[in-house]
């Protein structure tokens, strides 16, 4: 860290993405927030850095290169060309299909604290001047579990891309199916996979970027179906939860189990790409799939 960095004016900390391990910021009165920690402790390697430095480094741990969780909005800012994003289906909100106690209240409070309606943002944008449909899951929102809204938004995003001959880039993150919606959430796995199949049959490109954590029913559906699957360094990727596996087989698991690197080694990921190189990598992917730059803003991507 350069000496002058210590004295730079920092951005509004209340909008920090990655919450520290300490108690979450809680509102104590109207509009008053307790500032979040000044330090970031990496959940992978345990090393501590200044939160400002960590955030300037795109929320990547300077010691071990763990690519930490960031909000969908922040990801969008990092990924899309400036002022090119048009959101789709922002007005979709969850209901309570199995009358799970407290579900509506939980959703309402997350909508307020996260500033988004559900666990994914979808829309159309440009990346390095290539038109694309984009979806970004937000692990702050109920661990980005997939219920009806997430399933519907992803399905519509693929249908939109099929209709407008656009590629799809999905940044996946999820704890899996949203159990509070019962069997309906399981069915979203089939629904989204069906939409991927149609987009694929139409000859369009689908790129998955697996971010921390990509697990459960999301790994077992659309996340694993990209033509090209990219992962961020050190992130968790797997089907079953670590604890469930440990309980089943009664033995300790190696540290790198279910990491991006583990998935690469076992043949389920095409490449591991650092956040700082994500835009240029996606640009190359578009370029090598016959998409052209500067097409009409929506549709006509080829």
């Amino acid at each position: 860290m350069a000496l002058e960095d210590l004295f730079k004016v920092v951005k509004d900390r209340s909008k920090a993405d990655v919450k520290p391990k300490e108690p979450k910021a809680k509102k104590t009165g109207p509009g008053v927030e307790i500032p979040q920690g000044l330090l970031f402790k990496c959940p992978r390697c345990g090393s501590v850095s200044y939160r400002d430095d960590f955030e300037r480094n795109k929320s990547v741990c300077g010691s071990c290169n763990y690519h930490a969780r960031i909000s969908a909005r922040t990801r969008l800012e990092m990924t899309a060309d400036k002022d090119t994003f048009t959101e789709l289906d922002a007005g979709l909100t969850s209901m309570n299909p199995i009358d799970f106690p407290g579900y509506e209240a939980k959703i309402a409070s997350l909508r307020e604290s996260c500033g988004i309606n559900e666990a994914i943002i979808t829309g159309v944008c440009r990346i390095h001047r290539y038109n694309t449909v984009i979806g970004i899951m937000d692990s702050n929102f109920m661990m980005a579990s997939m219920g009806s809204v997430v399933g519907e938004k992803i399905t519509r995003a693929f249908e939109y891309a099929t209709e407008h001959e656009l590629p799809v880039v999905l940044f996946t993150a999820s704890g899996g199916a949203r159990m509070q919606e019962g069997i309906i959430s399981l069915m979203q796995m089939a629904k989204t996979s069906g939409a991927v199949a149609r987009h694929s049959a139409a000859g369009q490109l689908y790129v998955t970027v697996m971010t921390d954590p990509t697990t459960g029913g999301v790994t077992a559906s659309f996340a694993s179906l990209g033509d090209i699957i990219i992962a961020e360094p050190k992130v968790l990727i797997g089907f079953a939860g670590r604890r469930v596996i440990q309980d089943t087989i009664k033995q300790q698991l190696p540290d790198d189990f279910q990491s991006a690197e583990f998935m690469l080694e076992n043949g389920f990921v095409d490449m591991i790409v650092e956040r700082k190189n994500m835009r240029s990598t996606l640009s190359k992917v578009f370029r090598t799939h016959n998409y052209t730059r500067d097409g009409d803003y929506v549709g006509g991507g080829r």
Binding site: T155, S224, I245
Partner: protein
């Protein structure tokens, strides 16, 4: 038609010793059965039996999850918890059925896909995902019947179909009631409460548009009269197979897509 059992009571029925399994159903329902082994990539998974046979004189492909009738059988079939190679075998046989224009009959009975180191290494998530996508566009009729337990993605991987039928006492859920209680309430002992809350009976699933048909069981459950249960399944297949086979393939696939496409409960502003 029997009884209004609660989900918890049905859970007890499907766990009953002596409840028929695919080892009883396959020889009774299908003629000329030939078991076909292996996924052609890694190995053969005994948790899923696959093969060809005939029903009503016509060829069909059968893909079935194997609950054991005793501990020995259960050890061999890993308590019906498939590994990735099981799902890949299922997909291979489904693609073969597509080539030869045979309907596919999936018999679902699993607590879920196996959770273990090897399953992860060989891509359990990818194997299930691939099946969901490929079955959605498989150009031949697919009928799935939940016989007992339909557990999570491990069941769904054999249940992307034109028509889903459930035995009257069968349950189909996003996770087992025990798992649900354990994760959401940190208390696995609240299994029964979870079973009631989750809406996982055949009747519930008809209401959600997930299940199309309920197959009657004898009073008290399938174990009380396996022959009658077999007859009821056979009657259903005798109706469903020719009915779905008569549908033009493009229309069949459109309907299959729509069946899943419309499932979801949300508000839109």
């Amino acid at each position: 038609m029997m009884n209004d059992l609660t989900a918890t009571e049905r859970l007890a029925v499907i766990r009953m010793k002596g409840r028929p399994t695919v080892r009883d159903y396959i020889p009774a329902l299908f003629g000329n059965f030939l078991e076909l082994h292996g996924d052609r990539h890694y190995g053969d998974d005994a948790a899923i039996i696959g093969g060809v046979g005939t029903f009503g004189g016509k060829p069909v492909t059968i893909i079935a999850q194997v609950k054991g009738r005793n501990l020995e059988e259960n050890k061999r079939s890993n308590f019906s918890m498939p590994h990735p190679e099981g799902y890949r075998k299922a997909l291979r046989l489904a693609k073969q059925a597509e080539k030869f224009h045979r309907p596919v009959i999936c018999l679902v009975d699993t607590p879920g896909a196996f959770c273990g180191i090897e399953a992860e290494k060989r891509g359990q998530g990818e194997a299930i995902a691939r099946n969901l996508m490929e079955f959605m566009t498989l150009k031949t009729p697919v009928i799935s019947i939940v016989l007992g337990e339909g557990g999570s993605g491990g069941a769904l991987a054999l249940a992307v179909c034109d028509e889903l039928a459930m035995l009257e006492n069968a349950l189909y859920s996003v996770i087992s009631p025990r798992g649900f209680a354990s994760i959401l309430w940190k208390d696995a002992s609240r299994e029964s409460e979870a079973a009631e809350l989750m809406k996982i009976t055949a009747e519930d699933l008809v209401k959600f548009g997930v299940c199309e048909h309920i197959i009657d069981e004898p009073d008290g459950g399938a174990h009380n009269d396996p022959a009658l249960t077999i007859q009821n399944i056979s009657d259903y297949l005798a109706d469903a197979i020719p009915r779905l086979s008569a549908v033009d393939t493009d229309k069949l696939l459109e309907r299959r897509y729509e069946k899943f496409r419309k499932i979801g409960v949300f508000a839109e502003s």
